[in-house]
Amino acid sequence: MRRVFLAITGTIAGLVALLSFKSHSGIPSSAAATAGTSGGSSSSAGSAGGTGAPGSSAASGVSNGYKGGYTSGAVKLTAGEKSVLGKAANTVYGPVQVQLVVSNHKIVNVGILQQPQGTPHDLQIGQLCFPTLIKETIAAQSGKVDAVSGATYSSGGYIQSLQSAVDKGL
């Protein structure tokens, strides 16, 4: 769960970064993306159908193997599949949010839960960003971090920190 979750939050931020980067190279400069407020969540399908309710644990130790492509809208889960939702990123074009579908420790599909609609840049954003987002997802989901940078934690707060998990080799 932790690795998958880290990978996805990193990926969403990667998308945000990508959108921001694009703002420097063509798309109007007001395109600085903003991070959303909804947290990531995960769910699993106990039986066929449904996108599942948030709250239960997601897969850990996901390996590579996803071959590409994405689905517009939420992906319905089948038995054995788990859904990991990314944090919504609010760009000036509207919110962007992805769903990873994980089966047997592999990402088998990526759903685009939210994407900009009705702007002149819809197509551009979709064509430029989503393939990159998915590629980054694949690259990131198998990787862990070696360190965590953030506002200084106290000696007592360390035990709750992500860095303490890193130090334990988790």
Binding site: F5, L6, T9, G10, A13, G14, V16, A17, L18, S20, F21, H24, A32, A33, T34, A35, G36, T37, G39, G40, K87, N90, E136, A139, A140, G143, K144, V145, D146, A147, V148, S149, G150, A151, T152, Y153, S154, S155, G157, Y158, Q160, S161, L162, Q163, S164, V166, D167, K168, G169, L170
Partner: protein, 266 residues
């Protein structure tokens, strides 16, 4: 001193150690020194030096050089020479940041905002001098990396999301780089805008990437201090810094980054 690595680390995989010092925890990751007595000894030297830094520079210890100098009990010349070096660096960082970085936040001598980054940078350099080509030292959220995590692989550093404890906002990757983040996540608003005397609250966190940690950390702190109203001034300033890139999360949750930051996003 036991340097057996954090509990749970796979034996023989890489040398990891977490040391409680300077009011936080300093984490070491030295891949090539797993099971090395020489490496363990060198790491022990570094850890002892960090405790010396704590004893010398802590503003919370009555008998530290910083406390004694601050209350006029000693002259700078009577203190450890490293203190003069640190104060000179603080002055340089203050000049480069229009006074937003200062060794006297709130009017009292407290170079802690520089000392930690400086100490971690130097600790990493000590490991290099002892023969390590690849290591990562994280001082309570400020990271100095040398080499890579493995042959051909960069170090991967997550940037904490100040609005979601335990989650990351972003992952950056690089070799021989420093990643410093300042902000309000862990201890509440605590970076004072020295020009107003009030806590700076416009930016929830600023991450600065550069070649070495002490300066990157000072820049991150200065950017937070100048972060009123979303930090447009901080962004312009960060963009002007040679050899450094910045990523910020504003108090309302939006983000910005300097033009070269995307190259580091993993």
């Amino acid at each position: 001193m036991s340097l057996t690595g954090a509990a749970g680390a796979a034996p023989g995989e890489r040398l990891r150690h977490a040391e409680h010092v300077m009011g936080t925890v300093v984490s070491f990751d030295v891949p090539a020194w797993a099971g090395s007595a020489t490496g363990s000894g060198a790491l022990g030297d570094v850890v002892r030096w960090l405790h010396w830094v704590d004893a010398t520079f802590s503003p919370y210890r009555e008998d530290s050089d910083v406390s004694r100098l601050g209350r006029g009990a000693v002259t700078l010349a009577e203190c450890a020479p490293e203190l003069a070096e640190v104060l000179a660096e603080c002055a340089a960082a203050g000049e480069l940041s229009g006074g937003y970085f200062t060794a006297t936040p709130g009017g009292r001598l407290d170079p802690s905002g520089y000392v930690k980054g400086w100490a971690i940078e130097r600790a990493a350099a000590m490991l290099t001098a002892a023969g390590s080509a690849d290591h990562c030292v994280n001082g309570g959220g400020d990271v100095q990396c040398a080499g890579g995590r493995a042959p051909g692989e960069p170090w991967r550093v997550g940037i904490a999301d100040p609005f979601r404890p335990g989650a990351l906002a972003l992952v950056v990757a690089g070799r021989d780089f420093a990643v410093a983040t300042s902000g309000v996540a862990e201890r509440g608003a605590h970076i004072i805008d020295p020009h107003t005397g009030r806590p700076a609250t416009g930016l929830a966190s600023v991450t600065v990437i550069g070649p070495v940690l002490a300066r990157a950390d000072a820049y991150a702190t200065a950017a937070v201090a100048m972060g009123a109203a979303g930090g447009a001034a901080a962004r312009d300033w960060a963009e002007s810094l040679d050899g450094h890139e910045a990523f910020a999360i504003t108090a309302d949750g939006s983000v910005w980054q300097t033009s070269g930051f995307a190259a580091y996003v993993a």
